[in-house]
């Protein structure tokens, strides 16, 4: 395995197992990856990916286009099965889990190219996020037994409460596909939150948003973290957003981590600058 090549990385690599066990249970990292990698027929799209995310941390994952950021998200949510390494979610090994089980275990995500249930209403999209928290089965639904009315009432109230985070209650009856772009992005976040995650993965949440929308989104991401007490990891190209709200940033290039650290450390890291802007000509 290629060893870390920056001092930042060695500093920020995961704490030893002993250290973790010494901490309180509540302080255990919510996510820990060890040597995570995937091999697409000889191409290592992601290689030796080590990172930890603490309970209520906002972490950033940045890197040039094609660096493997979204692939990392797909590995964490088991859209792709990793060919190397392990993922520990809340201390549990997720090796044999499927995407559905990963979600039940506590990871929710949004997508770079929005994936809403576009023919369904905004409210139904949020209710689908709550799918595993609504407790009535097929026959209760068909026969309209009391469990149906109770479950739907609770789901409706909860959906409205979640939509109010982004002031979207008035859009509840609209078709999700008919919403403007920014609202669709926000709805995707609400739907992900409805699954009651421990860790929320946001794939370019600010893409296509104007500066004022982005500023509002930044506030909301912090608000979500504070209200729901969850960890958030985001991929983003908008450096104002990343530097503004992320507590820890991981930089990926060609599938490998080239730097880890706080925003100010990352900003001044020569390798990161090189990855983004290229090498200086003169020596």
């Amino acid at each position: 395995m290629d060893k870390a090549n920056t001092p930042e990385m060695q500093m920020a690599t995961m704490p030893s197992v002993d250290l973790v066990s010494e901490r309180e249970a509540a302080k255990k990292p919510v996510l820990e990856t060890r040597n995570l990698g995937i091999n697409f027929g000889g191409l290592m799209a992601v290689n030796g990916f080590n990172m930890t995310i603490d309970r209520t941390e906002i972490a950033g994952l940045i890197g040039p286009n094609g660096a493997g950021k979204t692939t990392c998200f797909n590995l964490l949510t088991k859209v792709y099965q990793p060919t190397d390494g392990t993922i520990l979610l809340d201390g549990r090994d997720t090796s044999n889990m499927t995407t559905v089980q990963i979600n039940k275990a506590g990871i929710a995500r949004t997508f770079q190219n929005i994936r809403l249930f576009s023919n369904l209403s905004v409210e139904d999209n949020v209710k689908l996020g709550m799918h595993n928290h609504i407790n009535y089965g097929m026959w209760n639904g068909i026969l309209r037994l009391p469990a149906y009315w109770k479950g739907e009432k609770q789901a409706h109230d909860k959906a409205m409460e979640l939509l109010s985070i982004f002031d979207m209650e008035s859009l509840a009856g609209k078709r999700a596909g008919s919403l403007p772009y920014g609202a669709q992005r926000r709805l995707e976040i609400v739907r992900a939150l409805a699954t009651k995650p421990l860790l929320l993965l946001l794939d370019e949440p600010a893409a296509g948003m104007n500066p004022s929308e982005t500023a509002e989104l930044m506030e909301n991401i912090v608000k979500i973290r504070d209200t729901f007490n969850i960890a958030i990891m985001l991929i983003e190209h908008d450096m104002n957003l990343v530097m503004g709200i992320c507590e820890k940033i991981t930089v990926l290039n060609f599938g490998k981590i080239i730097a880890k650290g706080t925003p100010s450390e990352i900003r001044n890291n020569p390798q990161v600058i090189e990855a983004y802007l290229g090498k200086k000509r003169e020596g």
Binding site: T99, N103, A108, R115, K127, Y136, T195
Partner: protein
Amino acid sequence: MITMKKTTRNNIYTYAFVIVSFIIVQLLINSGNISSSLQGQLVPICAYVILAISLNLTVGILGELSLGHAGFMSVGAFAGVVACISLESIIPITLLRLIVSLIVGALFAGIAGFLIGIPVLRLKGDYLAIVTLAFGEIIKNIINILYVGKDKDGLHFSFLTDSSALNLAEGGRVIIDGPLGITGIPKLSTFTMGFALILITLFIVLNLIDSRSGRAIMALRDNRIAAESVGIHVTKYKLMAFVTSAALAGAAGTLFAMNYSTIIASKFGFNTSILILVFVVLGGLGNIRGSIIAATVLTILPEMLRQFNSYRMLLYAIVLIIIMLATNNDEFKARLRALRERLLPSNHRAGKGGAEDGQS
């Protein structure tokens, strides 16, 4: 809140539409204003309406193209009729026997749907459609070589031979005679029963759609990857829609079969599957009321065109194409609207005003 959910209101319209249609037809029958050939079509219409609604659950709501729906219909038809004939002495009340037969038909078709669904629903898109087509034909061919008989010892089954292999005791009766199908079916199906079955089908399908499970099924249609990301079990909900659809088709098959004295397996072939699919596509994918109307109109149409004798199917095809264009082609719709505007300018304006009032 007094304002009703849009889907709830829409569902009430659908129920009301079916009930009002039933009452009108009943009045026509009682006053003798309905031709005997059309009256003979009433039960098949009910069966086709149920088939169209149930297929819409798979094609429109789940979003998977199925070309083998007639297969489930035939499983229901044969299982239901066998149940009906073999229970003749046990349940003398015909209505009760019909209901039991419908349930048996639905149950067997549901089981067939489950067994076929497990391998088929792993596939996607065109592949799934082709495999359902194959399974539809397989069902047809299995029933073609199936021999079932009844005597005092109970039911006897045999494959691939002939009815003598059933070894029936004295006084026994062959029920399914291979490619000759079933003869001497008690004609228990009635228009009222068909109507009741349509209402039950609507109740099941509409309530399923507007519930937690139905949302999950539609989520799979809209975006499978997103559905998995919010923890929706793909196979479970695909199977749920597929099996429900198959079971309802089975009940429709029983209803259909018990309207005739003879049925043969080859009646439920690819052509029938396509016919049902045409109802669904014409009525609009996911549009339950559309399926009902399309199934009714397209079943009556050949009867209406009977006077044109040998041109009947030609006219049927032309009418079908025109309806398809009129309901699904935007350009055609625009031209139709322009034509109407030129012919009836005042009417059009009044209609438009009315629509605006309705919206505000």
